[in-house]
Symmetry: C2
């Protein structure tokens, strides 16, 4: 059976990508990365159960989060930090002996996280894996159309919607250091979480 | 029903992309573009029948081929010409009133034909279509794995394998003008055609 380890937050992009992989005949194993700061990974686990996929939670070294926080403070914006965390998360999964295929829900219209062709091939070569991004060739229209057809989605502003993504932990960790995440993240950032199948 | 008009040559890439779109729930309508020089579109039609998708042949203006031939002669390589023909073929399909979604089998590792983000959005905006590329997020390993699992493929050098693609007509048209296509195209270019389903 062709297993693919898929980075999963419970959001609509990573959920749709998992659904497409499964339709393509892959055995999808969902992986949520946490830094052990919060237990927001349980929102991803809930969605994983709804979608009917295997799910595991992988704890990443706290140093990664510490470096990401520094990047946020230096840049006064979250882009480089999110990119950094995502690359390390991919490497963490790809480095496991049993893993031959990794994937995520990054899209054509995303600026971060996003691996360009050079980084993509480097990841594949260093860890001898195939890196699959089912949404990369799809635009926002197509993604919206499929999401609305397949999933029931809950949407709200980032701070109000708990989700199993890096951003939730990053925001919390910033607040712990006395930094207001609103000074770093864009003001009206709508997040989504898949809460059901249609 | 969600219809997608998919540029189709009968090769493994456009066949795999069609298969994925169909697995995603789209009604795939295959389109092979010809310049009326050869009847090699019938190889695409054969493969379309094997795959069980609707298929139509669309005749593109001969001027497009004439300009492509000039590009080949100027550049002594086929890249710009292939890119030019592909963009015009996408526009030709996208410009039809009933067409809301177009797609092709271009891959992550292709240099041509390939539309960058700016050209992709321009195509979508000018014709109010969604442009879908199911193979864009997949590497050669994944594509090879899926192709071998799903299709029976015949492979040979470009000049020996007749296929329903632009290259076959472009080579013929060059020869008609007294130019040896081997002076333009790379020497050992292996082409593939899907001849069966596993």
């Amino acid at each position: 059976m062709k297993e693919v380890y898929h980075l999963f937050s419970g959001g609509k992009d990573s959920s749709l990508a998992a659904w497409i992989l499964s339709r393509m005949g892959y055995e999808v194993k969902l992986v949520t990365v946490t830094f052990g700061i919060l237990d927001n990974w349980r929102f991803a686990k809930e969605t994983a159960e709804i979608l009917g996929f295997e799910h595991e939670v992988v704890k990443a070294p706290r140093e990664i989060m510490e470096r990401a926080i520094k990047m946020c403070i230096e840049d006064r914006r979250p882009g480089r930090a999110i990119q950094y965390i995502h690359e390390r998360a991919l490497e963490l999964i790809a480095s496991r002996e049993e893993v031959k295929r990794i994937s995520d829900g990054t899209r054509r219209d995303d600026r971060v996280p996003f691996l360009d062709l050079r980084k993509t091939r480097s990841l594949e070569d260093r860890f001898n894996v195939a890196y699959m991004r089912p949404l990369l060739g799809l635009g926002y229209k197509t993604i919206r159309e499929l999401v609305n057809e397949i999933f029931i989605v809950k949407e709200d502003e980032s701070e109000k919607l708990e989700k199993g993504d890096y951003e939730t932990e990053l925001r919390y960790a910033l607040r712990e250091k006395g930094i207001n995440p609103r000074d770093i993240f864009p003001p009206r950032h709508i997040q989504s979480r898949v809460v059901g199948l249609r």
